[in-house]
């Protein structure tokens, strides 16, 4: 990294998107988007529907291949990393339209979250060797800590298909936390939650940031929540960056106002 002219020490960068572009046929869903997430912050992407926010997430979790540009995580270029490696590198995510394992219990869902930390192989599993047992117990201990944090004890053994929407959202958050991430991607965590649930969520995001020291990259529409938890906000529209800065600053930005209200 080149030292800056004014001598100010540059803050570390956890995740950097550099001129990120993806093209679906003739449509540029994300066009030359650059931003940098610093360790320990809550960074929020806002923007109207179809702005390309979720597409940015899908690029970072490598579900889509970038057409142009780079993604750098912890100094490592992850633009070509296969998608199943992303979790082990320390990036976990939730989905806008809940993607839980419907026919499994809450506990099993969280244990799947531990998969990227798993070190057993098929042969030892067939015989369920003491090593496998030790690892299972270790997974359980870590998962229980997250169950305690998000107060999911009551639902531990319930099948996802029987749970109400708000709880499913929390289970998804818990499953992402089970992977022991460094960076957590939350895609509209408050959508469909009522006011109290959203308040709880705000507290948990604070806890995740302050106690677990996990950096959060979030997409959210609820501006009350965004203002309360975000350190910095990025506004997008039609695949392009409109503005970046503090929550209040971005909300006042003339381009952002125009994007939401029309000129």
């Amino acid at each position: 990294m080149t030292p800056r002219a004014n001598g100010a020490k540059p803050k570390g960068v956890l995740l950097e998107a550099d001129k990120l572009t993806i093209q679906f046929g003739g449509l540029r869903a994300v066009d030359q988007v650059s931003f940098a997430v610093q360790p320990g912050e809550v960074y929020t992407i806002v923007g109207p529907n179809g702005a390309g926010k979720t597409t940015v997430f899908n690029l970072i979790s490598r579900i889509y291949d970038v057409s142009d540009g780079r993604i750098v995580f912890q100094g490592q270029d992850i633009t070509g990393v296969p998608p199943h490696r992303i979790a082990r590198m320390g990036i976990a995510r939730t989905f806008q339209n809940i993607e839980l394992f419907e026919h499994a219990t809450v506990l099993q869902n969280l244990l799947v979250g531990r998969h990227c930390r798993n070190r057993t192989n098929l042969l030892t599993e067939i015989f369920f060797t003491p090593g496998v047992m030790r690892q299972e117990l270790d997974h359980r201990r870590r998962v229980e800590r997250i169950i305690d944090l998000l107060e999911l004890q009551h639902y531990r053994d319930q099948i996802i298909a029987n749970l109400p929407y708000g709880v499913r959202k929390m289970v998804e958050l818990a499953r992402a936390l089970s992977t022991e991430p460094t960076l957590l991607l939350l895609d509209e965590p408050a959508s469909g939650l009522n006011i109290e649930e959203t308040d709880d969520l705000a507290n948990w995001i604070d806890d995740i940031k302050n106690d677990l020291k996990i950096t959060v990259l979030m997409i959210e529409h609820d501006m009350r929540l965004v203002s309360r938890v975000s350190d910095r906000v990025l506004a997008m529209n039609q695949g392009r960056v409109l503005a970046e800065g503090g929550p209040a600053e971005v909300q006042r930005h003339p381009d952002v106002v125009r994007a939401y209200l029309g000129a």
């Binding site: 989905f95 099993q108 599993e125 992977t179």
Partner: protein, 358 residues
């Protein structure tokens, strides 16, 4: 109702949830080990068929019930296992090794098939497996130097390290031991990471991938395991039938296997056993009923296939979770009597899944 007070994580991980289970399963085990003393040789033979079907059912259950990949061609893998096993036994390889090698050959075919075929899902994969089964049937009939073609191959009774088995009862115990080992191994896989990865893929590939699961590798593993176990079942079936020919491994057998796991209950190992009992005894039952029915109904050709199909359709419509699902409802009814309500097992409204990525 039993309330379990959990004091350690091991309680959730171990094979039996509580002492009650240990007691009932032990009783069942004693029962099946003692059964040949009490029942006729014919019935013992039918029971071994149940065990063999159950092994094959576990194989298919791993693939269809747990990984969510349908196969309409599993009879082909039974066939591969059977022919490979007979071939190895002829070479003089001891029975237990020949059994495992037959499974390995079947798994090799399964993996070789899966590598290109697993780009497909759902109905397309089912059709691909069907095509594979048709091809294998041709191979069985025309590769006469190994398979004996349409004339078939006679199969001797297993010889286990010098112990020459002679009766149906001997074979019964061989099948029982294999079934127990396969069940335990499968249970172990299902309660560890690989099993959870399979279930994750069944429910949502996209988030399984985001949790660090290698989708293609897990699917191939599932296919390999499934065809290995099915191959072993095929080897046992060869001994049971004492004669193998290509017609033994036709489409009807594939459908019977599918019927078995659907009727038993998809996504549960118990289902394999219930299903195996139904599939093994339904033809016997039909043979009995045939004599009672008026000839105009009882003598219809293809009655058995029709009844199998009807049972399959009725289960899918009325009890998608199979016999095991029904049993759980009945058990819950008594456990929480009189609080059970019709809606207890009703699924909640499915939440809208727009923009769902597949």
């Amino acid at each position: 109702m039993r309330n379990i007070f959990k004091t350690s994580y091991v309680q959730d991980i171990r094979l039996f949830e509580h002492g009650g289970h240990v007691f009932w399963y032990a009783l069942l085990l004693i029962g099946v080990f003692a059964a040949p003393l009490a029942v006729s040789e014919f019935f013992v033979g039918e029971m071994s068929l149940v065990f063999i079907y159950a092994v094959a059912g576990i194989g298919l259950m791993i693939l269809t019930g747990y990984t969510g990949l349908a196969s309409l061609g599993h009879a082909a893998f039974l066939g591969i296992g059977a022919y490979a096993h007979v071939y190895f036994v002829k070479l003089g390889i001891p029975f237990p090794f020949a059994l495992v090698m037959a499974g390995a050959v079947s798994a090799a075919f399964g993996i070789a098939f899966a590598l290109p075929a697993l780009r497909m899902t759902g109905i397309y994969l089912a059709i691909a497996t069907l095509a594979f089964a048709v091809i294998m049937e041709q191979v069985f009939s025309h590769w006469t130097s190994v398979t004996g073609g349409f004339r078939g191959l006679p199969v001797t009774k297993p010889n286990i390290f010098g112990w020459q088995t002679t009766t149906e009862t001997h074979l019964y115990y061989v099948c029982l031991v294999v079934l127990i080992l396969v069940t335990l191994g499968t249970r172990n896989i299902l309660r560890s990471a690989t099993g959870r990865a399979m279930m994750a893929i069944r429910d949502s590939e996209i988030s399984a991938q985001s949790m660090g699961i290698h989708i293609a590798r897990t699917k191939v593993t599932s296919f390999g395991l499934s065809t290995f176990i099915t191959g072993i079942a095929g080897a046992l079936l060869a001994h049971k039938l004492q004669f193998i020919s290509p017609e033994a491994f036709d489409l009807i057998l594939s459908i019977s296997l599918l019927l078995m796991i659907v009727v038993g209950g998809l996504g549960s190992l118990h289902g394999c056993f219930y299903g195996a009992i139904v599939v093994a005894f339904l033809p016997q039952f039909l043979a009995l009923v045939k004599d009672v029915l008026p000839p105009s109904i009882g003598q219809i050709p293809g009655l058995q296939g029709g009844v199998f199909g009807l049972v399959l359709v009725l289960f899918i419509l009325l009890e998608p979770y199979g016999i095991y699902g029904r049993w759980r409802k009945v058990r819950l009814f008594f456990e929480i009597f009189p609080l059970y309500r019709r809606a207890t097992f009703k699924r909640q409204r499915g939440y809208l899944k727009t923009e769902r990525m597949r």
